[in-house]
């Protein structure tokens, strides 16, 4: 549902989403990288399990919540994608799981 303008592609970055390798452009937010890869939904809701995807891209809606390198509840639209990052869709509850030390 999104394609990248050729004049705006910068250094390639590879990360995984639910185990699948995805190529992004340096500087992309996680949410933008997922949209560019055709991923529409990145989580399911805690209440009904409905699929959701990024809605505002500016940090206000919290629809882009994903698990990044083992940490739940990261706002994908505010986190810059990094080489080797492990992004997973967030299933249901947003309860905090024990967090790995930074």
């Amino acid at each position: 549902m999104f394609r990248r303008l050729s004049d705006r592609a910068s250094g390639e970055i590879t990360f995984t989403f639910d185990g699948r390798p995805i190529t992004a452009s340096a500087g992309d937010s996680v949410a933008a990288a997922l949209l560019a890869a055709g991923v529409r939904a990145c989580r399911t809701t805690p209440v009904s399990g409905a699929p959701r995807g990024p809605y505002c891209m500016m940090g206000v809606c919290f629809e882009c919540l994903v698990r990044i390198d083992g940490m739940d509840n990261r706002q994908g639209c505010l986190v810059t994608v990094q080489e080797g990052m492990r992004v997973e869709s967030q299933r249901g509850s947003r309860t905090l799981t024990p967090e790995p030390a930074q």
């Binding site: 549902m1 939904a41 206000v60 809606c61 509840n73 505010l78 967090e99």
Partner: protein, 508 residues
Amino acid sequence: MTKGRVSTERGIADLADEYDVIVVGAGPAGLSAATTLAGTNARTLLVDENRTPGGQIYRAITLAQPVDRQRLGEDYWRGRSIAEDFLRSEAEYAPATTAWSIQPLQGDAGQTIGHEVGLSSNGVARLIQARQVVLATGALERPFPIPGWTLPGVMTAGAAQIALKTSGLVPSGKVVIAGTGPLLYLLAAQLIEAGATVSAVLDTTPRENWLRAFRHARGFLVSPYLAKGLKLLQTVQRRTRVIRWVSALAAEGEGGLKEVVWGAGGREHRMAADLLLLHQGVVPNVNFSNSAGCAHEWDEAQLTFRPQVDEWSASSVAGLALAGDGTGIGGAEAAAIQGRIAGLGCASRLGLVAPAERDRLAVPLRTSLARAMRGRRFLDELYRPAKAFRVPQDPDTIVCRCEEISAGQIRASVSAGAGGPNQMKVFLRCGMGPCQGRLCGLTVTELIADERSKHPSEIGYYRLRFPIKPLRLHELAALPQTETAKVAVLADLADTHHPADLNERKPQ
């Protein structure tokens, strides 16, 4: 974090413990406030959630290439000098940093002598003190609660603009843009100019608005909005189908958007779509000013609550100024001027600019501000979203996206005795999810007002608490446990999380 330099590697660990002023928000208002303050030798820190300065209108401006000038237009390009002036100033800059609380600091006689601002960046939280604070946190797109607006594939038009400005992404496939507002045709034109093929623009501006707006046409006719608006309209009309007088709208699909359904001229129409971009204007983002306890009022022309400010942009809370679209929508040019006025006000309260000098410097700014505000009333009236798109008529329409609470449930809670948003919250948990009411607050106020046949000003808004963005346990644990910090955090945990979460989340 040296002067005006972007440094994300060390994050906020390098910041001082105290500043004269902390400015929150690096849009035109915050950038101008910080530049003005640094120019008076105030020790100034500017923090912003984004990685580069610019705010919404000038997002990613420091990364923009000459082709972006063509795609995004001259008004976007203008942001370069505002950002460059700031980066040249002596102000410090903490990008990728979220401000999540502000608590007054009391002097011996109980007077407010400054504020402690909670900041968080890359998993590190700090409490930093400032004698004055300027909040320039801007606006967000007005909630657009239609059936199916939570489906993946439905986003805001602003979101698509952000993807374009920051990552060069262009909507592809079958794209429909729907809504109203002075920015609708700008957003559509920018996307089209960048190469998006838009199947249709569904314009929900009610016909009767033209009559209401006509009374305010004088200011509009002498404002630059007229020529700019006509040009945008022309671009969009030439390149896509514009369908007017749309009076009903829904997104449909299982698990994701498949079709857009709309009503116009008494008939129902459908169109297959991969992406639906919604937009019905922008409203002040009041979460910060509300949590800080600033007085707010209902603005009937803009159909929103906004914080009250004086002629120097000072709020009702001592030592706290507010500037830009966060205080009411005036547009980018007005925001930049307000930022400078707020900066002068702060500098004078800090004793760095004498009152007479402050007043003298503000004279030309006030003239420019009045000019920048010309035509605003016309735009407000013309693009006033129809009630059907603000107050969902279908009881099944989701209002609170986080907790999945429908319009019907909210209306029922009113019959069950919830008189206002805060009581309703207790009944339904509506507004208590991570977005903290940003995407439902105005809808809830207007729904309850509608159900009780009262005016929104009598119903009020959610009472919000810090932290305005969820913090992580390890961030909390690492903070010095000052009384104010503890109180803020405990209040929030009790208020905004499922009881089941509480046991796990109690800070040590």
